[in-house]
């Protein structure tokens, strides 16, 4: 028998219950849910579904809301079904998954480094992934699967390089950020060199891809990132409790019996894989990995970064940014990365200003 137990934490104090714990006795699993995080996640889910439906419905050929679900299921009119299934749904799904992957990856990196600036798009993970992906396209004419593999290798290589170059009796956050900014610059200049070697058509494609774009996304883009998420999300979920222990600091985590280095490396690998897969699919969509977790953190008013809200915020961000990019100068479609950069850059500056005000090194 599985017994479901819901009890109040902090029940000895006369405060409002802010969290509840769910225990499954038979498999021996328990999870603690922060009430506000759960509500925020539900709210974000509503936003995501709304953005998804809007993304499918709005366009040069508008599809009435009533036809969206039939179109998705393939029982509507032929036109609607074709447009929904072949054009808009893959695009929206890619946006959803790419955003979720960036958000989750950013949350992992920022938590591990205990620094909001140490997200994969700042410390060069996405730059490394882009470089490797562009190299695979330009030099080898690689297929979608090979591009994804190359992107992962590139992201991993960049992470290792940052780690090695920033290592000086341990890795501190700001040193890592500084080295990462440098490596990002290296990566992007190598990428632009590769573009000069490519033929004009490839170069143009790659240039749009490099700003982070959901244009022309088909099912062939959905499948790799979908498969990756199908593996990586459960893996991250398994690792998440250890992430929470690592947040307490290495010594405390050691004291709690956590194998610090093992879990740190596995979490890092998961974060790199998530960011690289997302990059392989839609290009380095700027700043989503940076601002997604930070917005989620502020929405949840939590001390740490919760993974689920971070992933959902990332997904919502990308979907909404893509909607804006499609509608702002219609019929011209702006790449989603342009919109997220315009939103994300001021946010990064604001984070810097915040860090200054609180007197920490920024």
């Amino acid at each position: 028998m599985t017994q479901l137990l819901v009890d109040a934490l902090e029940s000895d104090r006369p405060v409002r219950r802010t969290a509840f714990v769910v225990r499954l006795n038979r498999p021996g699993v328990s999870a603690r849910f922060d009430r506000r995080s759960v509500l925020v996640s539900l709210g974000l889910l509503v936003v995501i579904v709304a953005a998804l439906v809007a993304g499918v419905s709005i366009g040069v050929f508008p599809i009435p809301l009533s036809d969206v679900v039939p179109g998705i299921l393939g029982v509507g009119s032929d036109d609607a079904t074709f447009i929904v299934q072949n054009l808009r749904l893959p695009r929206a799904l890619t946006g959803l998954m790419v955003g979720a992957a960036f958000g989750l990856s950013g949350a992992i990196f920022q938590t591990l480094a205990r620094n909001p600036l140490a997200s994969p798009d700042i410390i060069g993970v996405t730059a490394g992934a882009s470089l490797a992906a562009v190299a695979a396209i330009v030099l080898a004419g690689a297929s979608t699967g090979a591009i994804a593999g190359a992107a992962f290798a590139g992201g991993l290589g960049a992470t290792l390089a940052v780690y090695a170059l920033a290592y000086r009796r341990g890795v501190t956050g700001y040193r890592m950020v500084l080295v990462g900014v440098g490596l990002t610059a290296v990566g992007s200049s190598l990428t632009s060199w590769l573009l000069t070697k490519a033929n004009l058509y490839d170069a143009q494609e790659a240039a749009i891809w490099l700003t982070g774009s959901l244009n022309n996304q088909g099912w062939e883009h959905v499948v790799p990132v979908g498969l990756a998420l199908a593996v990586l999300i459960p893996a991250t979920a398994l690792l998440a409790p250890h992430l929470r222990c690592l947040q307490l600091g290495d010594d405390t985590a050691h004291g709690l019996g956590v194998k610090v280095e093992t879990y740190r490396l596995s979490l890092l690998a998961a974060g790199v894989a998530l960011a690289s897969m997302a990059t392989a699919s839609a290009g380095p969509v700027a700043f989503v990995a940076l601002i997604g977790p930070q917005i989620a953190k502020r929405l949840c008013r939590a001390s740490g970064i919760a993974l689920v809200p971070a992933a959902l915020t990332g997904a919502a961000l990308v979907l909404i940014a893509d909607l804006i990019g499609r509608q702002l100068f219609a019929p011209t479609t702006l790449p989603v990365g342009v919109i997220t950069a315009v939103v994300g850059a001021p946010f990064l500056l604001w984070l810097l200003a915040q860090a200054n005000r609180s007197g920490r090194e920024g």
């Binding site: 490596l183 290296v186 060199w193 000069t196 011209t332 702006l334 342009v338 990064l348 810097l352 200054n356």
Partner: protein
């Protein structure tokens, strides 16, 4: 130990710590000569190599006798000489501005590319095309100036917020953020308006290709002024390197010194970017190379800076439709970055850390080398 011996020992220590591979004035002048020689070789290579390799004899002949009639003369005078000349000037401007920036901000990561200056210039040019409908290349130069100036001021102001002033991380991040914003806005405009893209790409993609000397004459006054101001401020940069408080105590006008150097930076990067489009890393890397060679005295750094700069030029073969920054094939981009990573590792703030002990090398003239 006698007082004299003690003094000698201390002087030796200072000399050693003020750093660099080349420690004595003689070695440094020698280094300068070597750098000039490298420059000459690079110029020659730039003239000779290309989709049609020219024999050295004919080339020199055409060059020396002003022969513009023959095929060789046409190629040399019409195509390669302008590029090479612009490459030399742009390179030295970027190298010098990088050194100035690194001096003013006391930050080894300062570079026009990283600090958003290139992005600012590019954005201003796009605005000039898109908003004001300007089609003349000569007016772009002015816009590139203003864009570079505004971007550098904004980035420095943002990076200098807070108690610890313009720390490397804050400057790099502020530059990253401002660059990202400007690049995004630039690409948004370019995607929306094809006519703008068409004009803009001639400015940005061309890098050194297809420039005639007209552009150079146009920016040369600004560039020259920038170099002069930069040289003039080299001495005050050494004082600034000691830290604001010490510099003030020594009677330096910190604000003025910084302003003058910043003016030189804007003049130099503005004219370089205006003439050749955004080129990355030269400004960042070369001062480090120079510093590794001659130590932390900015008067020497400026002197040495002139020459190696021009190795941008060989990258500018006219057969290469440089889609991005003008680089010598594989070399430039990677080299630049790798150098920085390597240079950065042993000491995160070489300029700050060592400059405290820096002394002018005995026998150095106030204006370093011969440029």
């Amino acid at each position: 130990m006698s007082p004299t011996a003690e003094r000698v020992r201390r002087a030796a220590t200072v000399r050693r710590e003020s750093g660099g591979l080349l420690r004595t004035p003689a070695a440094r002048y020698g280094g300068l000569l070597v750098a000039v020689a490298v420059l000459l070789v690079a110029v020659l290579a730039s003239l000779l190599l290309g989709s049609r390799t020219l024999p050295i004899g004919d080339t020199l002949n055409a060059l020396l006798h002003g022969d513009r009639g023959s095929t060789t003369g046409l190629i040399v005078w019409g195509l390669r000489w302008p590029r090479t000349l612009i490459g030399i000037f742009v390179g030295s401007a970027l190298g010098a501005s990088g050194a100035l920036m690194q001096g003013v901000t006391r930050n080894p990561l300062a570079d026009p590319g990283i600090l958003g200056v290139n992005a600012g210039a590019a954005f201003a040019v796009v605005l000039a095309i898109y908003v004001f409908g300007i089609t003349t290349l000569s007016i772009y130069v002015g816009f590139a100036f203003v864009g570079a100036a505004v971007a550098s001021v904004v980035v420095y102001a943002l990076g200098a917020m807070g108690r610890d002033g313009a720390s490397p991380v804050k400057l790099a991040l502020a530059g990253t953020a401002v660059s990202a914003l400007l690049v995004a806005l630039t690409s948004a405009i370019l995607l929306v308006d094809l006519a703008t893209l068409d004009r803009y790409r001639f400015w940005v993609v061309g890098s050194l290709a297809g420039r005639d000397l007209g552009v150079l004459w146009q920016v040369l006054p600004f560039l020259g002024a920038g170099l002069l101001v930069g040289f003039a401020s080299a001495r005050s940069l050494n004082v600034l390197g000691l830290g604001d408080d010490v510099a003030k105590a020594l009677g330096a006008k910190v604000g003025t010194a910084r302003l003058v150097s910043a003016l030189a930076v804007v003049l130099l990067t503005g004219s370089a970017v205006a003439a050749a489009g955004p080129i990355g890393f030269v400004g960042l890397t070369i001062p480090h190379v120079a510093r590794a060679l001659v130590g932390t005295d900015y008067r020497w750094i400026h002197g040495v800076l002139r020459a190696p700069r021009a190795d941008v030029a060989p990258g500018s073969r006219h057969d290469r439709p440089a889609g991005g920054p003008a680089r010598r094939g594989a070399g430039r981009g990677g080299d630049g970055g790798d150098w920085r990573a390597v240079l950065h590792r042993p000491d995160p703030t070489p300029a700050t850390g060592r400059a405290v002990r820096a002394r002018p090398p005995a026998g150095a003239t106030p204006h370093g080398g011969t440029a």
